[in-house]
């Protein structure tokens, strides 16, 4: 982790020095760099009564809200940021976020750290650590103040992991109707971890390509997003493949041959945000497909309705997730190899999720740059990796009510 961060920082420092030199050379009247500093944070509390279970807001966190006790680990986080404008075209940003991570620690993580070149309103390029823009009301899921709800819908966005990448993006814009149309293309090496079954997974070589098409007007934002992630050298399933290959059975050996060290995940999403006067409505739909063993098909959806009354903004939300394996399960193994069948089933089921939640809450903007939120969610899950037991295993047939209160701020 330290090596990668320091590599990114060195690259950024080099790019910053180059850009500063370029700017000075290109424009004798260049102004001094303008530096801005700021940050954001959330102090969040949550409680639910499902003893022995932990509710996680996303798959990257090792923990969350534990049953039967008031906890602050799931939603609390803090981020700091420095940005600089070198001249009319060149700027840079560095941002770090601390939150509960996949190891259960609060180690700050570098996010949104890049050098930017903006020659005109129609073209924008960035290089460095960037994020995928899947979120309609904020390109970072950590800036709670930017969201209406306590947390972005976990059923849709909590399973979108590795939303940062080290790479480059290019954005093209042009007016369309009474709005602005923009196309963003990006690619690079994915960053981020997963916490599954009590273990941390860090794909060592994951490449991401993606595109986002946005149309934004005063009252309406429409977004279509697509992303592809390729992972190689994932050896997590290698022991299972070796065990299956050792069985003198045609079916077992066929399955062993299907287990590859590479994965291919395709994600597509559609979103709409309507804001007019005090009323706002947001809808998100997503589809995902894992095309290498274990193959999956899934979809998620979320709807949020809100109405502002002065400083108060009550809202209701509904979201659901279905992610099911497409593999044949029966290996027809002899009884003495039942343990291998169980291991195979666990591998096939490792991301199976069927969960839905309905929430009601209120946001209270009691001071500029501060918001309090109170939210109650009822969650039903036939199987979910977002709700795990003490060993980190997926919860089954759970119904829980989660009470949350957060203080979000920016500075």
């Amino acid at each position: 982790m330290k090596t990668r961060h320091s590599t990114t920082l060195r690259l950024l420092a080099l790019l910053l020095s180059l850009s500063a030199g370029t700017a000075a050379g290109a424009d004798a009247d260049a102004e001094e760099p303008v530096w801005r500093f700021g940050g954001f944070g959330t102090v969040g509390a949550g409680y639910h009564g499902s003893d022995g279970l932990t509710y996680r807001r996303d798959l990257e966190q090792a923990g969350g809200h534990e049953g039967g006790r008031l906890g602050f680990r799931g939603d609390s986080r803090i981020g700091v940021q420095a940005s600089a404008s070198f001249d009319a075209r060149w700027s840079a940003q560095i941002q770090s976020v601390s939150r509960l991570d996949s190891e259960g620690k609060w180690t700050p993580q570098l996010s949104w750290t890049f050098l930017r070149y903006t020659p005109s309103d129609t073209l924008d390029m960035r290089i460095g650590r960037l994020g995928v823009d899947l979120y309609l009301d904020g390109d970072s899921r950590h800036v709670g103040y930017a969201f209406t709800t306590v947390r972005p819908a976990p059923e849709v966005l909590g399973v979108v992991t590795q939303d940062l990448f080290d790479g480059i993006d290019l954005t093209l814009r042009r007016p369309a109707g009474d709005g602005l149309l923009s196309l963003r293309l990006y690619g690079g090496h994915s960053r981020g971890d997963l916490s599954l079954y009590g273990n941390r997974f860090r794909p060592s070589d994951a490449r991401r390509l993606g595109a986002t098409l946005d149309w934004v007007s005063d009252g309406l934002t429409l977004r279509a997003a697509w992303g592809d992630t390729y992972t190689s050298h994932d050896r997590a399933l290698a022991p299972l493949a070796a065990a299956l290959a050792a069985v003198p059975d045609v079916v077992a050996q066929q399955r062993a041959a299907q287990i590859d060290a590479s994965h291919h995940l395709t994600f597509a999403g559609l979103g709409a945000l309507y804001e007019r006067g005090p009323f706002s409505a947001q809808a998100l739909f997503s589809w995902s497909r894992f095309s290498q063993f274990p193959t999956y098909r899934g979809n998620g959806a979320s709807v949020l309705l809100a109405y502002r009354v002065g400083a108060w903004k009550p809202y209701i939300s509904y979201s659901r997730l279905s992610l099911d394996p497409q593999e044949q399960r029966d290996l027809s193994l002899p009884v003495p190899l039942a343990g291998l069948q169980a291991s195979y089933d666990r591998a096939v089921d490792r991301l199976t999720m069927n969960q839905r939640s309905i929430g009601v809450g209120v946001r209270y903007d009691f001071a500029r740059n501060y918001a309090l939120k109170f939210q109650v969610d009822h969650i039903d899950a036939a199987r979910s990796m977002l709700i795990v037991d003490a060993r980190g295993m997926a919860a089954r047939d759970v119904g829980m009510t989660l009470y949350s209160a957060t203080l979000d701020f920016v500075f």
Partner: protein, 144 residues
């Protein structure tokens, strides 16, 4: 119990804000640019794009200096996009922390806004229609 009292400075500020708000209500809000900018008029959509950070240039080449007049923010954004200040602040939090752009410069005093716009060809701001003078040019008028 001791009755609540207003200090003279607070009283004057409250009076000024009331008078300023009343003047703005009577004359609307004027979106102003530098007379040398070469801009004669600007559409409501363009103003919205500029003040919400969707576009950054008023003139080719140099980013615009976009200025909020703080006492008029509520009326301005309500009139322009029918959104209140909490929504606008949340919106800017999204953009700031994903590195898209920076929010408009916040200036309390309309006289200072006029000075900045009069001094900078790339500046755009808004003030009460009642206080517009010849140093700046009105390119759009919003009813509040």
């Amino acid at each position: 119990m001791k009755p609540a009292t207003l200090r003279p400075t607070r009283l004057l500020l409250a009076l000024w804000l009331a008078l300023y708000g009343a003047a703005a209500a009577a004359h609307g809000i004027a979106v102003i640019v530098n007379p040398d900018s070469g801009i004669d008029s600007i559409s409501r959509e363009e103003v919205s794009h500029l003040f919400l950070g969707r576009i950054k240039h008023l003139l080719p080449g140099t980013p615009a200096l976009v200025i909020d007049t703080v006492p008029l923010r509520q009326a301005f954004y309500q009139s322009l996009v029918r959104r209140g200040i909490p929504e606008i602040d949340a919106y800017w939090a999204r953009l700031r922390f994903s590195g898209r752009t920076q929010p408009p410069l916040q200036i309390e005093d309309a006289a200072v806004v006029i000075e900045r716009v009069a001094r900078d060809r790339n500046a755009i701001g808004y003030i009460s229609g009642a206080v517009v003078d010849s140093r700046v040019k009105t390119v759009l008028r919003l009813e509040d």
